[in-house]
Each structure stands twice: as structure tokens, then as C-alpha cells.
Subunit: 136 residues, 2 copies
Amino acid sequence: MKGKPMTALEDDAIALVKFDANGLVPAIAQQHDTGEVLMMAWMNEDALRMTLARGEVVYWSRSRRGLWHKGETSGQTQKLVDFRIDCDGDTLLLLVDQIGVACNTGRRTCFFRAVRPEGVTETEPVLVDPGQLYGG
Amino acid sequence: MKGKPMTALEDDAIALVKFDANGLVPAIAQQHDTGEVLMMAWMNEDALRMTLARGEVVYWSRSRRGLWHKGETSGQTQKLVDFRIDCDGDTLLLLVDQIGVACNTGRRTCFFRAVRPEGVTETEPVLVDPGQLYGG
């Protein structure tokens, strides 16, 4: 690849990111071509480096307290298309190519509940049986 | 307005949201028609209720420790178009109509730095002089 060695690029990114008191930064995943906001999860420094190095998104699971290569179980991986950092350095925007569905409920996006005058409304259909995603 | 009284709707939303240990929830603002992800900020319960009641976005400023009616100084308000809650209830997605620019650097979106093989690249032009936004 032309350009900077990957480790130098990772260092550049890390230098711009302000991790919180727990060493984490929120990362928003957006489908690069349709603009759908798919999910928000967290990264630590290792997750951020692995995401840039692999070109596939790796988060930090706060519940499991471990690295979480998105899709490693379900196959619903996120290929990294562009890696953005906000003005304050405290939020990331990942433009991705999402294979299948982002949400473990089997919906394309996790943001499927809308609060509207008529009440709380579901905006996204279940596309895949969650049991099928996780071999349940 | 037809449908539920606003306070009941606010209560429905609050019941679905899991605020963190500081009483806050992250809220992503996305331009409703173009799909641009504009910014991410935080809401407490009061900010969430005010956003739904006014139809304009109000955040909680962690640095100023106070309610932050986005655009109250700069005029760059966010009209609420749809209010989404994710599967876990721990992140909000606000579809908005952004007046002017979302970023206090004068750019349309806060996510204007991209980490790419050739180095860190700016992807968004400055549209408004920040001094003009804040009367500086």
C-alpha cells in the first residue's frame, strides 16, 4: 500500500482521540452508501488499532469486557470504508460496508424504535431470525 | 395535536432509555434528508423531555454542566424530525433539520477528519467563520 505504514497511521489516529476515563471512545457505524446509521458501540485503543489494521471493525464489548470483532459469530461483519474523528476527538464515525444486519435482533439497524405522536413505533422489519444469526 | 399527550410520550421515551451512571445518554444527530451524521452529544432526562416538547434539540453540556439548547447563541438550531431509540436503549438517533452548520468550527458536520493511508485528511470545508457564529 502506498502512503504511511499502518502503525504510523494508527499512532496518528490515537493521538487525535480523547478516550474517556474508562479508556473508551464511542464509535458510530454508518453504511457508507445509503447513509443508514446502523449502531453505536465503543472502542478502546486496541480495538481502534485492530480496526485500522484489519480494515474490519473491532469494538470493545463493555458487557463482556473484551475485544469484539463484529460479526465473528454471526458473519455480519463491517468492512471499514472510511474512519472519521470529530472536532473534539471524543467520537468516531465509521463508514462501513455492513454484511447482512447490524442489529442482533435481526434488523438492519439498531435504531428501529421511533417516539412519535401516535406512540412508540417500530420502523425496521426483522430480516433475519436472531436464532439463525447465533446458531441458537 | 392528535395522539398521546406530550408528557405521556416523554414518559414512554424515558421508560425505554437507559441513562448511564451519570444520568446521560449519547444522542447522534443526523440530517434527515441527506443522511449526514452531524454530531454526537449527550442528553439527560430534562434535555430529552425538552427536545420532545419543543421539537428542537436540547442537549446536556458536560463541560458547562447545564442544558444546552443547540443554536441558542449561534442560531444554528436543529429541528427534530424523528426521535429514535436503539435496541438496548442506551443510544439515541435524532433525525433533524440542521439550520446552517452543526460544528462550532463552522463546518457542516463535526466529523471532518478522516484517517486514510495518505495521512489524516480534512473532508469538509469551513462554511461559516466561527467568530461570526458566536459574535466573537
